[in-house]
């Protein structure tokens, strides 16, 4: 009782600190250049919350979150591109001598259709795929490999269909969302706050799931899946559900990325990008929703700094970081934080130690 109560209190304090940092300190002290970058990092915070749910709580490691990130990102990009180039064809189509707009691009003139697609397509795809796979009792590392292959397939497809997808260059050069500019400084500031609000909504949903009976069942599945089956649960359904939630958060992240950064390319949704998303969460702590966001901020920031000065060593740094975290800090920074917290609590009240 005392530890679980303490943990939920520990969960609230960092969330409030994070809100203070994002809503007050950053906007007041940082210029628009840094705020833009932070918006980009926070996109991966949204993705990270989904990974915490699926990986940390459900025990499902997906190395293909880029697939869903890509679906969200490209759908949003299609809308933004059509907005920017209307009434003409998008520029990359002209360059690849595509002469008419493909029929499946047409619905994305509408923002409503775009938003619905971003929510529905990844959800249906993720659920059908995951339920079929989990029903067959495929799990663990095999599941990770299948998802990795899916992310790779998407990249190959995007690069190959240049006339429809912009190929290796992706889709870029956006201007407006529903008629409002998204590139002026003022618009960027608004988008920053929109990003923070969406992030906190996603974190709230994540926390509610973790604290519900479903969250407990997920932990139980992670620890003893056979036992949960013999308590009368269809465990494949629960795993598919949480995987779907994480896919949806990834898609949302992708859509926000296109909006914030103004481009989407196959590299951003490929294998390396997918693994980077996992590393953000591993660094922050895979059992901590706030941790995942902090991880995304920290790793994103070091990526900007390091790849600016030494572009070639970034991947080595990332790989090294992952190894160090896995070996010495399996529950990430959040684990370190609660260990320190616990230690100071036991020092303060030594009579409560067992």
């Amino acid at each position: 009782m005392t530890t679980s109560r303490m943990m939920s209190r520990v969960g609230l304090v960092p969330a409030i600190l994070l809100a203070l940092l994002l809503l007050v300190i950053f906007p007041v002290f940082l210029g628009s250049y840094w705020l833009n970058l932070i918006s980009k990092y926070l996109v991966f915070g949204v993705v990270g919350v989904g990974i915490v749910l699926a990986w940390g709580y459900g025990g499902i490691l997906s190395l293909g979150q880029g697939l869903f990130f890509g679906i969200g990102g490209y759908l949003m990009a299609m809308y933004l591109k059509l907005q920017a180039s209307a009434p003409n064809l998008p520029d990359f189509m002209v360059w690849s001598s595509t002469e008419v707009l493909p029929w499946w691009w047409k619905p994305y003139y509408s923002l409503t259709v775009t938003l619905i697609s971003i929510a529905v397509i990844p959800t249906v795809l993720a659920f059908v795929f995951a339920y079929a796979v989990f029903r067959k009792r495929v799990g663990g590392v095999y599941f990770a490999i299948v998802t990795l292959a899916l992310a790779l397939t998407l990249t190959v497809m995007l690069v190959g269909q240049q006339g429809y997808t912009g190929g290796a260059n992706g889709i870029t050069d956006f201007r407006t969302l529903a008629g409002m500019s998204i590139i002026s400084d003022k618009a960027k500031l608004v988008l920053y706050f929109v990003q923070v609000v969406i992030l906190f909504i996603v974190m709230g949903i994540g926390t509610a799931i973790v604290k519900s009976r479903l969250g407990k069942i997920l932990i139980a599945i992670r620890d003893r899946e056979d036992r949960v089956r013999f308590s009368g649960y269809d465990t494949a359904l629960f795993k598919a559900f949480i995987f779907t939630v994480s896919a949806l958060f990834s898609a949302l992240g992708g859509a926000l990325y296109s909006l914030q950064v103004g481009l989407i390319t196959p590299t951003l949704v490929g294998v390396v990008a997918s693994i980077e998303m996992i590393i953000y969460v591993a660094v922050g702590g895979r059992l901590s929703i706030v941790g995942a966001v902090v991880g995304a901020l920290l790793v994103g920031w070091s990526k900007s700094v390091i790849s600016e000065s030494f572009p070639t060593i970034w991947l080595f740094f990332l790989g090294g970081l992952f190894i160090v975290i896995t070996m010495f800090l399996p529950s990430g920074l959040a684990g370190l934080f609660s260990r320190i917290k616990l230690r100071s609590a036991t020092i303060a009240t030594p009579e409560r130690t067992q």
Binding site: S212, R213, L214, I219, R224, R227, R229, F230, S231, G232
Partner: protein, 245 residues
């Protein structure tokens, strides 16, 4: 309505040519507490695995009341009223005793039911009742990982009791328990048997003697003998393969 709850007919299974259970016939009635004994490799655990759906038999039928279990999968069998306890206690170590029991409560087993579930007083009452029964009332808020081995065995029995199954399959429930814990477990089993039927595998003959109504002896996947403890203990074949040494 017949009193037979479980009826196993001509049940066989083999793994890579090794026949673990071979043409077994076996019935259990309501209110019965049946012990299954036999030397290692006799097919005792495999029998329970097949009843609860963990292993698919290669031949034969398993009737639980009116249901044919061989065509059902684990969670369906559980929902039909069969509870299974494993040989090494299978509890959720990262959750508290309370949460372990709560998850086993046979309601809201769907996605949205469990997402919006609220613990009602009734529910809490049932958890307390079961916790009392399995001697864990004072440990409700402890992480299951911190329990002793014997307490974990009790917790798993408690998790089955939450499901209120008509048929309970227990695989060596007193393994690793102290003498005192064994006595308490025997009391517990006698208390829960009425109204349902309990099938348990056990090696400890003193324990079997203290609780069993009827004993089934398996040997090399086949039924060797069945009867009361006295009959079994005086059966030449049983003494030969199992009790003798």
């Amino acid at each position: 309505m017949s009193a037979v709850i479980l009826s196993v007919q001509e049940l066989s299974v083999s793994f890579d040519g090794f026949v673990a259970v071979d043409g077994l016939n076996f019935t259990v009635e309501r209110n019965e507490l049946r012990c299954v004994i036999g030397p290692n490799g006799a097919g005792k655990t495999t029998l329970l695995d097949m009843i609860c759906g963990k292993t698919k038999p290669s031949h034969g039928t398993i009737k639980f009341k009116e249901l044919e279990l061989t065509h059902m999968i684990e969670h369906e069998i559980t929902r039909a009223g069969v509870g299974r306890k494993f040989q090494t206690p299978a509890v959720y170590e990262d959750l508290t005793v309370l949460e372990n029991l709560e998850i086993s409560y046979p309601e809201q087993r769907g996605i949205f039911g469990s997402l919006f579930f609220r613990r009602t007083p009734d529910y809490r009452l049932r958890i307390d009742e079961v916790a009392d029964q399995v001697y864990l009332r004072d440990f409700l808020d402890a992480k299951a990982a911190l329990l002793s081995h014997g307490q974990k065995q009790w917790l798993e029995i408690g998790m089955l009791l939450m499901q209120d199954p008509e048929l309970m399959l227990l695989d060596e429930p007193v393994a690793g328990m102290s003498a005192r814990e064994r006595e308490l477990t025997a009391d517990l089993l006698k208390q829960i048997a009425p109204g349902r039927c309990v099938v348990l595998i056990e090696h400890d003959m003193a324990f079997v003697r203290s609780i069993a109504h009827k004993v089934t002896v398996l040997h090399q996947g086949k039924l060797l003998a069945e009867g009361t403890m006295e009959q079994i203990q005086s059966d030449e074949r049983v003494i030969d393969v199992y009790l003798g040494n």
